[in-house]
């Protein structure tokens, strides 16, 4: 499977990445290469094989319903480009 330029533009837009017109052919080719590489797996016959969620035989760990975290607003906001009265402040995003 190869990726055409239209699809490459769509993938970029879904990932919120800017791709210039000059760049797009090169990116499409790179993504195609990745797809071709992964496509090698098609050579393996997986009919009737259950998906393996993890190579290690462990179960999902659950936790008790207790409040053990939070109340660290300073740490949470420490990387925010802008904040006010403990809110994150971002460019207006309403429609």
């Amino acid at each position: 499977m190869s990726m055409d330029e239209k699809t490459a533009r769509k993938v970029a837009s879904l990932a919120r990445l800017r791709v210039t017109d000059e760049e797009v052919a090169r990116r499409a080719a790179q993504l195609s290469n990745i797809l071709h590489f992964v496509e090698q797996l098609d050579e393996v016959d997986t009919d009737g094989v259950e998906p393996l969620p993890s190579p290690v035989n462990i179960k999902l760990r659950l936790r008790e319903d207790k409040v053990t975290d939070g109340a660290c607003v300073e740490a949470v906001l420490s990387n925010a480009p802008e904040e006010l009265e403990d809110f994150y402040v971002v460019p207006k995003v309403v429609e």
Binding site: L14, E64, D65, P91, V93
Partner: protein
Amino acid sequence: MATLIKGETGEWEVVIGMEVHAQVIAESKLFSGASAHFGAAPNAQVSLVDAAMPGMLPVLNEHCVEQAVRTGLGLNSKINLVSVFERKNYFYADLPQGYQISQFLHPIVGEGAIEIDLPDGSSKAIGIERLHLEQDAGKSLHDQHPTKSFVDLNRSGCALMEIVSKPDMRGPEEATAYLSKLRMILRYLGTCDGNMEEGSMRADVNVSVRRPGDELGTRTETKNVNSLKAVQQAIEYECRRQIELIEDGGAVVQETRLWDPVKMETRSMRSKEEAHDYRYFPDPDLLPLEISNDFVAQIKSTLPELPDQKKHRFMQDYALSLYDASVLIAERGRADYFETVANDNDAKLAANWVINELLGALNKDGKALKDSPITAAQLGGLIGLIADNTISGKIAKDVFAEMYASGKDAAAIVEEKGLKQVTDTGAIEAIVDEVIAENPDNVAAYRGGKDKLFGFFVGQVMKKSQGKANPGVVNDLLKEKLG
């Protein structure tokens, strides 16, 4: 109650399905130990997991899994022993991860059905498609600043159940009946508080129209429908819009629309279209969720009696109508109140007094049942006095008003005010004689064939006895004396 809508070119059937997001009652969030309580200061209940700091890993809250299973059982649905968390990818300012952890191909709960009660007294089964667990997003405030949005992540990561119905509803009444029954079940189960004003229960409504008997038409999804009334209005608006569109030669576009409760209309959210490419894939941070039959059985053994079971029991054991039973089961507290009143009493009478008198009076005052000045045992006492003929039904209403105002027992009020019904034939006979003696003209007219005057005599006797004469005895005596 399949309501057909008349268009310009014939009749149309409306087909409705609903997706309801219900916030799970839990102490902490779905994948982090931050508090899940409502109303804290901005960002005070956010862990580094909820803020999606690099390297943070989600750890699943066992109680949220129990709550989802409990809800699934309450919706008579299949519980899936293996389910998978996936990432639903999209960008928004209040979604710090850039994806929502949700369930897609393998939800924790599969198909089932609930019963809805309709205004005409009938009921209908509505299919449940699935229920899955997912994270809630944070909250954005857009009205605090001209060019900025404010983001509070307290809600980010709280557990939600998304409950998807089958497209089994055929009109706005069925849709609101479904939503209120669903809310009732969640409240009985204690898995969601069902508070639509605070947003702990939110509905998206899928609407399409078709000619009766045709294949399903193209549907639209309307968001922001956050009260029973809004559900009704949004569906009415949306099906009329679709019918007009088709009848004018157009076609319905599958899209997301937004309900505007001020303008009373739905409008297209075009910008949402591209975002619908969610690129789900299994979350590599989380293994599949496996639960055992024992785990499910353990939860099943703790389920309360559910609204529909209660409804059927009330109809069977107390011989109540479907309507009375539906009103009484609407809240667990109300049903319990009724059962205390009905204990050792005439159940039909108890139902009437709870529904018509008590709920009527509370409703008028804007009070909840838990704030009722009359306890269930006290109301039972009043009904006992009616049933054993101590007081008449008419006097009982006055006693009720007094109880409601003072909180006193019925027996004490009856005693204090001397309201005991007179059943002593001799005493009533004296009054009857008096009334007959005082109204010779009417007596003659009655005997001459004016049967309607009988009511006049009853009224006079009751008046003279200050309402305390037993109406049955009065009737018998008057019939005998007037001949």
